[in-house]
């Protein structure tokens, strides 16, 4: 019964088959897998999951937003470079305090059933998002409108909202506080219009079903949940001449390896932000494959420190930890796709923004601070509890920090990977010392980041509060001059970083694969895409 020989043969055969695969021909052609355009103007997109639903105003997940922007359009829209442009509104103006805005709707904008888009459609949709009965998770985004918070808390009538349809085609919006950038917000899906006559009947639920009436560049063709969602070009969209794609197919692929496999097999034309395996992305980047597109985004990876509990309630302990984070190793070694190591919260690539200075120091300073706090060389310190949501590279980052802090400071970590819901619950109870966190700004404004640490913000689990910080932010909200506003915000960020309730580690970047025959698709920091001008070059062939 000598089993070992055939066993060995089979193992050898498997290994052979596999290693044969390793020397793929990609290095020579320069393309990532098959590069052959489809036979009609069609864009096949891999995104990390299925949209939560089709109602454009109700959800905040990235796949839902992408679908919302295919099917609907707000007052303003985005270009393919991620800049805002006129959408349903073709003109807007504000009073001198930037508290009242007036939008003129273009007459040619219409719903897919042929009815023109009116100012009432916006009023209806915004009141619905804020209606407490509707229970939309996106409601907070509209709190900038006068009366919105009271309405959403059930303390005021939805009709008291500071939005009025002056005529069919003029919409007036009154804000809680001045915001010269308000028009940009209206490009977010939570501000999209809805046709009342189709929605009102089943007000709470999305009534669109398989054929929603919408006003965007595409209309729904079919949605096979967990499999694919297909849209086709709208016949009624006001700018339909500029839409070159006949249809768009979105695949909800949860597995990064599956995504890149399908891309290689030529069944996917575009892998959206960070949906492919990191190690392969890095490898392709190193090889200089032209299909790999890296873009910085407005997002920061940081740790929250518990400022209430021993020993992280001591700012010296927090600063010592902050000074000895091996940011380069994490950004380059673990991520390494355009991720920028950083000691500040506000993404440094925001337009017209200069990051504040952070107190300098080296590991020597850190050890001194720790000794001053009463823990020389980490003596007398229990292991610090480090919570993170398991998955992706968070475990690697945690392990790396564990090694670095042990080595440099003698501080030990107890790593606790959890699922997100459990982590959030435990973080809210304050049962931790360090907690992994990140923030992605929806709009290119510093206050998007800084508001997280204003008193009462549910995203701040550190227990840190600072009256002066809150005052600076509030003051900045009322300043119209961008230079002066940024100066105030910079002072605020300086206060935050000096006290170190958080340890910023890096600013995120995205990696996307785009087939060479896709034209006019530019990955951008807001990770948004304008559909006008985007085309698939059917004639494209690899150059010989």
């Amino acid at each position: 019964m000598i089993c070992s020989r055939p066993t060995a043969c089979v193992i050898a055969a498997i290994l052979l088959a596999w290693t044969a695969g390793c020397g793929s021909g990609e290095e020579h052609t320069g393309y990532v897998g098959r590069a052959r355009p489809p036979d009609r103007p069609l864009l096949r997109i891999a995104q990390g999951g299925d949209p939560a639903g089709l109602d454009p105003t109700r959800y905040s997940d990235q796949p839902s937003w992408r679908v919302a922007r295919l099917l609907f359009e707000g007052l303003l829209a985005f270009t393919s470079e991620g800049r805002t442009t006129a959408g349903v509104a073709d003109g807007w103006s504000s009073n001198s305090e930037a508290t009242i805005f007036t939008f003129q709707l273009r007459p040619e904008a219409q719903w897919s059933d042929g009815r023109p888009v009116t100012a009432e459609d916006f009023v209806f949709a915004w009141r619905r998002v804020l209606d407490p009965k509707f229970g939309a998770e996106t409601a907070e985004g509209l709190y900038i409108i006068k009366g919105a918070r009271q309405i959403n808390s059930g303390k005021a009538d939805p009709h008291s909202l500071g939005v009025r349809a002056l005529t069919e085609r003029v919409l007036e919006v009154e804000l809680e506080h001045p915001d010269p950038e308000f028009p940009i917000r209206t490009a977010l899906p939570s501000f999209f219009p809805l046709p009342p006559e189709h929605v009102a009947a089943r007000y709470l639920d999305w009534p669109g079903g398989l054929d929603p009436v919408c006003n965007g560049p595409f209309v729904l063709d079919r949605w096979l949940p967990d499999d694919r969602l297909i849209v086709r070009r709208s016949e009624t969209y006001w700018n339909r001449e500029a839409i070159e794609l006949e249809s768009v197919v979105l695949f909800p692929l949860a597995d990064p390896n599956t995504t890149i496999n399908l891309y290689r097999a030529g069944e996917i034309d575009w892998t959206t932000a960070n949906t492919i395996p990191m190690d392969q992305a890095r490898e392709l980047l190193r090889r200089g494959a032209p299909e790999v597109h890296v873009s910085s985004v407005y997002a920061t990876y940081y740790l929250e420190l518990n400022t209430v509990r021993e020993p992280t309630n001591d700012p010296r302990v927090r600063r010592a930890l902050e000074l000895t984070v091996p940011r380069e190793s994490i950004a380059e070694g673990i991520y390494g796709m355009g991720h920028r190591p950083s000691r500040v919260l506000v993404s440094t690539n925001l337009p017209d923004w200069t990051a504040p200075e952070v107190p300098a120091g080296d590991s020597e300073t850190a050890r001194r601070l720790l000794a001053e706090a009463g823990y020389p060389g980490g003596d007398g310190l229990q292991p610090l509890v480090y919570l993170y949501n398991a998955g992706g590279p968070h475990g690697a980052v945690a392990e790396f920090l564990q090694g670095a802090w042990q080595q440099q400071l003698g501080v030990r970590l107890e790593l606790i990977p959890m699922d997100f819901a459990s982590m959030e619950e435990r973080g809210r109870r304050g049962d931790f010392h360090l907690l992994r966190s990140s923030w992605l700004a929806d709009l290119p404004a510093p206050v998007e980041f800084l508001a997280v640490f204003q008193a009462g913000n549910p995203n701040n689990l550190t227990g840190w509060e600072d009256r002066e910080y809150d005052r600076l932010l509030e003051q900045a909200r009322h300043v119209l001059d961008p230079g002066e506003r940024n100066r105030l915000l910079r002072t605020a960020e300086e206060r935050l970083l000096n006290d170190a309730p958080i340890i910023p580690i890096l600013h995120y970047a995205t990696v996307q694969l785009i087939k060479p025959y896709v034209e006019g698709l530019t990955p951008n920091p807001l990770d948004v895409i304008g559909w006008a001008g985007l085309r698939v070059n059917l004639e494209w062939r690899p150059p010989r």
Binding site: N257, E283, G333, L415, M418
Partner: protein, 295 residues
């Protein structure tokens, strides 16, 4: 039958090889991590290095020696597997024997409880345990053991039922032996062989389940490694660092094969068959070979 008996006598080369793999592996798992501790790379780039001088099996994705990680992982996996199997044996035998000896009504109720537990998706239970108590080796083996005892309870119960009618038990009871005495003196020794065989069948299954949980990110917390976490790391890097998957998956497979063969041999030595007596209904209740595909 004649064929299979032929192989069981004496020390064949394969038997020796099995012995070497199982015992050698166990020794390596116990002492290896002391001799060859794994360390984080000190440098800027925590990169996976291919096998070569310095690192016999290459390094993992954070630049740690793969061989050292493998030994660490093996220790975790073996410990979890053995502990879970033991836990399952103890609970399963006691519960099953209790049900078998109890009156028909209690027996019915107790076995209905097993049915209910078997109908619960295993993953749900584990996710709940993990999110309630955090990830640890302790939790992992408790979770795996808590699932694995269910079929064992059936084995034990069926065994008791078969034995209950034996005249010598009747005699023991007539002579005034208490239930506990009867259990200890007669039932457990009788059940020993099928349960031992069942345990050797279960160990590889539990190890595979550990790998599966780790693959889903529900395994042990880092920096601890298990074969499962290493394989998960390897699958994620199948293109750029295939040696991780090769060494981790390869050693797991080798061990599982050795264990399967060893179990088969043991079954033959002890003359226990899948199809005989006590084990018959067990296979129906959830022969755990299919365990890794169970959601």
């Amino acid at each position: 039958m004649s064929l299979s008996r032929a192989g069981s006598s004496g020390i064949t080369p394969l038997n020796a090889l099995l012995l070497i793999i199982v015992i050698g592996g166990a020794v390596a798992a116990v002492f290896g991590p002391q001799l060859l501790p794994s360390q984080l790379a000190g440098g800027i780039e925590p990169l996976a290095l291919p096998p070569g001088a310095g690192h016999l099996l290459g390094t993992d994705s954070l630049g740690r020696d793969m061989l050292a990680r493998l030994l660490e992982g093996m220790r975790t996996t073996l410990f979890v597997g053995l502990a879970a199997t033991l836990l399952a044996l103890v609970i399963g035998t006691l519960y099953g024997a209790a049900a078998g000896l109890a009156g028909p009504r209690a027996d019915e109720t107790m076995m209905r409880g097993v049915d209910v537990a078997l109908a619960l998706p295993f993953m749900l239970l584990v996710i709940l345990l993990v999110s309630l108590f955090g990830r640890s080796m302790l939790l992992l083996f408790v979770a795996l053991g808590l699932v694995a005892w269910l079929p064992l309870a059936r084995v034990a119960r069926a065994g008791v039922h078969n034995l209950r009618e034996e005249p010598y038990l009747e005699a023991a009871r007539m002579m005034g032996g208490s239930r506990v005495y009867v259990l200890r003196a007669h039932l457990f020794p009788q059940l020993g062989a099928p349960l031992a065989v069942y345990a050797t069948w279960m160990l590889p299954v539990v190890m595979m389940q550990e790998a599966f949980l780790s693959f889903l990110g529900l395994g042990v917390a880092p920096p601890r490694a298990s074969w499962g976490t290493l394989i998960a790391d390897g699958v994620a890097r199948i293109e750029t660092a295939p040696w991780i998957l090769l060494s981790a998956g390869g050693s797991l497979a080798l061990w599982l094969i050795a264990l399967h063969l060893a179990g088969e041999r043991l079954a033959r030595q002890l003359n226990v068959h899948r199809t005989t007596g006590a084990l018959e209904r067990t296979t129906a209740a959830g022969e755990p070979d299919g365990g890794e595909v169970t959601a």
